[in-house]
Amino acid sequence: MSSSNTETTTVEVVMPQMGVSVSEGTIVEWRKQVGDWVEYEEPIVDISTDKIDTEVPSPAAGRVAEILVEPGTTVDVGTVLARLATDARPGQAHASEQNGAAEAAAAKGETPAASTATPSPEPGTATPDDAPSRERPAAGARRYSPVVQRIAAEHGVDLERVEGTGRGGRVRKQDVLAYLENGGAAAAEEPPLHIESPYRPDPVEPKPAPAAATGVYQAPAAAPLSRMRRIVGEHMKRSLDTAATCTTWIEADMSRVERARRDAGLTALPYVARATIDALREYPALNAWLQGEEHTVHDDVNLGIAVSLGDDGLIVPVIRAAQDLSAEGLSKRIKELARAARSRTLSPDDVQDGTFTITNPGQYGSIMATPVINQPQVAILDLEAVVKRPVVVTDEDGNDSIAIRPMTVLGLSWDHRALDGALAAQFLAAVKRRIESV
């Protein structure tokens, strides 16, 4: 074996800390295999943490010499994941590897093919909301006719979200008008905002084969829970174990919200969010953290909005200082965060320091729920479906009549360690009042 006179510089790739409270991370997929060249800051591995999924940029340019942690493994922050040899050029064997390294690599049987133990999403893959039916020009290449642009500007429509049915997938006037008709949030376009909850439809399991004639029940083989399921489950359990969770509900007449949101081309959520923020200013006790014995009432409302990531579970991006935003502003911010969440481009800051959370899973028609509080917050508001109901209305003369109104049930889960039912009810009433006077 010949020896080289050049020095080998080795750089370690370690598990990063994605957020203050994060203590560990899981390898999702290696982007580079042993023997591959990687540029400085080029993504080398995908990881997943409690807070966020992300890619790790290479700390140096060099050749991947060793991979130490396999995909699917969870390790502590700081653990060495791989080693890079930095003393060679692309396409060239490392000086240290010449004459023997190639054989060694072949002997190890490393292949460039990616092998992952558990199915995991890659950053940037199609989200569930992408309709596959029509070919769409790349976002940057899309052009919009004058009338389409004018209508979009007048109604604050994000044309990127509008399905085009014209030639070559172009957005036509009727497309943007139809988009507005559907409340600017056609079910196909915007996925439900959702929080860790029992409402995720569980994967349908195949019916077990009929029992054999022996009379003894043959259970099918068990499969381990997915990583995501485990993480979600742990969160829920922890929350329910920690907090004294109670739920209170109130009905709200959404007529004015419906009218306002149609005129503005928004969904109902921003209006409910704005009403909630105002109610929190009135009842700041619900805008608080409870960690052990430590009770912190916050001034800013850092409003968390639960976002579903489909098979990848849930995440709660936070709108910092949400009290400074109008309904339109909240709508915009919610869309931005949801988009970032789905494209896995949220930063750790985006998911931290929430003081109150709203969840909005009403697309399936469910009307009430018992949401789970997002620790260490003390309350969470659930907005379900808006349903037209016959209600009794009383006019100024005191005469009752039946009217048809779009109604919804607002659910508030709250921590009895931090507050009482009366306060919770008052808060809910304040939200309702504001919703009904939009």
Partner: protein, 321 residues
């Protein structure tokens, strides 16, 4: 109400005006004793006499020029060109004397010039033209082109009464093909556009014979709702009606039986591009006859004049854009 052809409606209009106003006379080649090349003035000479149903010498410049002279001393002449094509022989009198007289001298010239126009029947290059664009381009001349029998009557009556020189394009191909119930007596149609069919998905703008082509071509294109605007008046052009329709549908197709370059449709397209830009969801498209003289042999002629199929295809393309 009586059922009348387009041609009969034109006769009716002149008869009404000549009966009501002795200042009205009709003059042209072969219109008196012979009743006109197309029989529009058949029987007129018996009712109104040779002075008011005047067989003129073969002199287009003479017909227009003397009509101008008669008009400024109080007559209301209706000058007929035997074919629209021959107006080129009277171009100078029409454009330079009649068109400019009021602007220059404050003396209005009340003449009506009837032009039997259009092709589609192997008339050849000198009997098939649609010369309206020449006169839209000459300041001081009004230009109208009816497509229905009702409008043929009403627009002609308005033209005779209008104090200004009015060029009235009567499409030869519609003379006997268009028939409908026409109001009896006298009525004057304003120089505005008319909605031939209401719609929401596409606007087709046309005038004269092309209105009928437009209606037929867009009757059923995959159930689309197509609006057809009949301009009726080229000068003055009903911009308001045009823009309102484009605002509604955001897509527009403009038809010309005249040669494409600088036809009436080109002006309409320019107005739309200028004033309706923000209402457009597609390019402003035109279907017109290519820039060649109208040929005589049927397959050649049919290939050039905008056909129902060609218009339908263009409409479909634009609908799908």
């Amino acid at each position: 109400m009586a059922t009348m052809t387009y041609l009969q409606a034109i006769s009716d209009a002149m008869r009404e005006e000549m009966r009501a106003d002795e200042r009205v006379l009709v003059m042209g080649e072969d219109i008196g004793v012979f009743g006109g090349a197309f029989k529009v003035t058949d029987g007129f000479i018996d009712e109104f006499g040779p002075d008011r149903v005047m067989d003129t010498p073969l002199a287009e410049s003479g017909i227009i020029g003397t009509a101008i002279g008669a008009a400024v001393v109080g007559m209301r002449p209706i000058a007929e060109m035997q074919f629209a094509d021959f107006i080129s022989c009277g171009f100078d009198q029409l454009v330079n004397v009649a068109g400019k007289m009021y602007y220059r001298q404050g003396l209005p010239v009340n003449i009506t010039v009837r032009l039997p126009s259009g092709g589609g029947f192997s008339g050849g290059p000198f009997h098939s033209q649609n010369p309206e664009a020449w006169f839209m381009h000459s300041p001081g001349l009004k230009v109208v082109a009816p497509s229905t029998a009702t409008d043929a009557k009403g627009l002609l009556i308005s033209a005779v009464r209008d104090h200004n020189p009015v060029i009235y394009l009567e499409h030869k191909h519609l003379y006997r093909r268009v028939k409908e119930e026409v109001e009896p007596g006298t009525y004057a149609t304003p120089f505005t556009a008319r909605i031939a069919r209401e719609g929401t998905d596409l606007t087709v703008i046309a005038y004269g014979a092309m209105v009928h082509t437009a209606l037929e071509a867009t009757e059923d294109i995959d159930g689309a709702s197509v609006e057809v605007v009949d301009l009726r008046s080229l000068v003055p052009l009903d911009e308001e009606a045009i823009l309102a329709s484009v605002r509604k549908t955001s897509k527009v197709l403009i038809l010309d039986e005249a040669n494409q370059t600088c036809a009436a449709g080109a002006q309409v397209a320019a107005v739309i591009a200028d004033k309706a830009f923000e209402d457009l969801d597609g390019p402003v498209r035109r279907v017109a006859t290519p820039d060649v003289p109208i040929p005589f042999s049927p397959p050649l002629e049919q290939a050039l004049l905008p056909s129902v199929d060609r218009v339908k295809e263009a409409a479909r393309e634009l609908l799908e854009y």
